[in-house]
């Protein structure tokens, strides 16, 4: 199981490092003994206590009796009906989140592929600079960036006025408070998660293979689909996952750029916890979201034939 392939380290510019395959027999030089365990222990313990155990807490919370409250405490009654209830109440934001996430991922793939391809094959000596430029805007606060989009897409702003002039939008048409703004925001905010793994994959491709394709009379389009695209699939798979998963769970874009009609599931979970104090419902909805994502990821990874990614 190699796990690094999927996640290109954001701050490192040389994302080209291939990950070490972990299940092959240990290469020479791997030391046996107690030190390895001692080095691992603190980090793994932290993850066990604050990542694994909380999942059990969440699962337990989702089965509490809804009659309790966070101050009086909850009774554990294995109240599976919580799941049915939240599905009935919130299937719309749930589906909407998956749909927006899928759309944003598709747009990110198109934009990100162009950018990653340009950096990997066309940038020449500017390769590193362009990579740095991909990352740089995203060190500015997520919320400040999103608010900036709110301004750009504002009702009498330049973008809306231009689109009205071109009759793409009606005279009282707007972008804010529409699904367009939300999906655009998601696409923008998660783009680097697509570009970096795509670049890592594309950069590893041996240019001679592409040359060979054109020597054998493949035109550039055929060459791309027969050679470049298949070889970049690991990057496509990890990039789409890294974009899809956070964008489905995100609610900042929906809240700042959308209206209540674009409410996403993250926002529902958040307010069930903090405003409604309905912990069992919030827990159940969280578990459902996680289960859907895990199921989709497993099916997707299997169909893409890149199981080694997980």
């Amino acid at each position: 199981m190699t796990s690094t392939a999927g996640v290109a380290p954001l701050a490192e510019t040389d994302v080209t490092q291939p990950s070490a395959p972990d299940d092959v027999p240990p290469p020479s030089g791997r030391k046996r003994g107690r030190i390895g365990y001692l080095l691992l222990l603190p980090g793994l313990a932290w993850l066990a206590v604050f990542f694994v155990v909380p999942f059990y807490s969440l699962l337990a919370t989702s089965l509490f009796d809804p009659s309790g409250s966070d101050t009086r405490g909850y009774d554990m009654t294995y109240h599976v009906a919580n799941y049915w209830n939240v599905l009935q109440d919130y299937w719309q934001p749930l589906l909407r989140s998956l749909w927006y996430g899928a759309l944003a991922t598709a747009f990110c793939l198109v934009l990100g592929y162009v950018l990653a391809y340009a950096i990997a094959f066309k940038a020449g000596r500017w390769k590193n600079l362009m990579l740095v430029l991909v990352i740089a805007p995203f060190f500015t606060s997520f919320l400040v960036r999103t608010l900036s989009w709110k301004l750009i897409l504002a009702d009498d702003g330049f973008v809306v006025n231009t689109l009205q002039f071109l009759h793409v939008l009606g005279d009282d048409g707007r972008l804010l408070a529409t699904p367009v703004a939300v999906v655009a925001g998601l696409t923008y905010n998660f783009l680097p998660f697509m570009v970096l793994p795509l670049f890592a994959s594309l950069d590893k491709i041996d240019g001679r293979l592409i040359e060979a394709a054109s020597d054998l009379y493949a035109n550039p389009v055929v060459g791309f689909f027969k050679v470049t695209w298949p070889l970049s699939l690991p990057g496509v798979v990890s990039g789409t996952l890294l974009t899809f998963i956070p964008s489905v769970g995100d609610y900042i874009n929906a809240q700042l750029l959308g209206s209540p009609n674009q409410r996403m599931v993250g926002s529902v979970i958040q307010s069930l916890f903090t405003d409604a104090n309905d912990y069992p419902a919030a827990g159940a909805l969280s578990v459902i979201l996680m289960a859907i994502i895990v199921a989709m990821v497993l099916v997707y990874v299997r169909r893409a034939g890149t199981e080694e990614l997980l």
Binding site: D22, L47, S286
Partner: protein
Amino acid sequence: MAWLRRNLVLILGIAVLVYTFVPIFVVVLMSFNDPASRLIYSFDGFTLHNWLNLCEDPSMCSALGRSVQIGLLSTVVSTILGTMAAFALVRHDFRGRSATNLLIFLPMAAPEIVLGSSLLALFVGAGFAGQLGFWTILIAHIMFCLSFVVVTVRARLAGLDDTLEQAAMDLYATPQQTFWRVTFPLVFPGILGAALLSFSLSFDDFIVTNLNAGQTTTFPMYVWGVAQRGVPMQVNVVGTIMFLISVVIVVGGEVVSRRRSRALA
């Protein structure tokens, strides 16, 4: 025409890059804005007021300070723990490698809202509902930074050629000397990158933080709060400063590594 066809992909790529900078441009511009009203948000006039009076709203600066504090603390802890784990993964042999890798991978793959609500369920279940605040935020941030540190340092370590270390050993360096004089300096850029990444992940986090913050406010939470009722222009100053700092660090790192590779070559 031929030129255009040859460079089409590059031009499109640069166009995408320009697009990613559009909001940054607006943030920088707005940091010099003299708004007519807090609710109508357009560029009305140039002023240095926002830069000179950064803490006009004291609650913004206290939130900012808290975010920096949490960011630094979670960076230190997660970088140390994550680097140790990365060394173990690359250099040591142990049982349960697959399970360990999965445990490290999963926090990066889970949506933040699920991470945040699980932690909240844990804290409330353990009776800490009243103590949500600085420490629970810190615990959460260390948790989600850890995996990114492990992955970043591991990539650096795995790509390392061990001939230099062997040379050191051949020249009678003790294992400690080899580690501190050869291995560590070679891995250091990876560790530094991981630390920067942790800080920015922590500083920027909203969703996990918001669930586990209780009454405490971090900078993103402050921005979220004011987004509904008019954003003070100083928020854009902070955004601009963050952008400048990151550019200096990233470009500086690039220059240093370029110089170093030239010196080696």
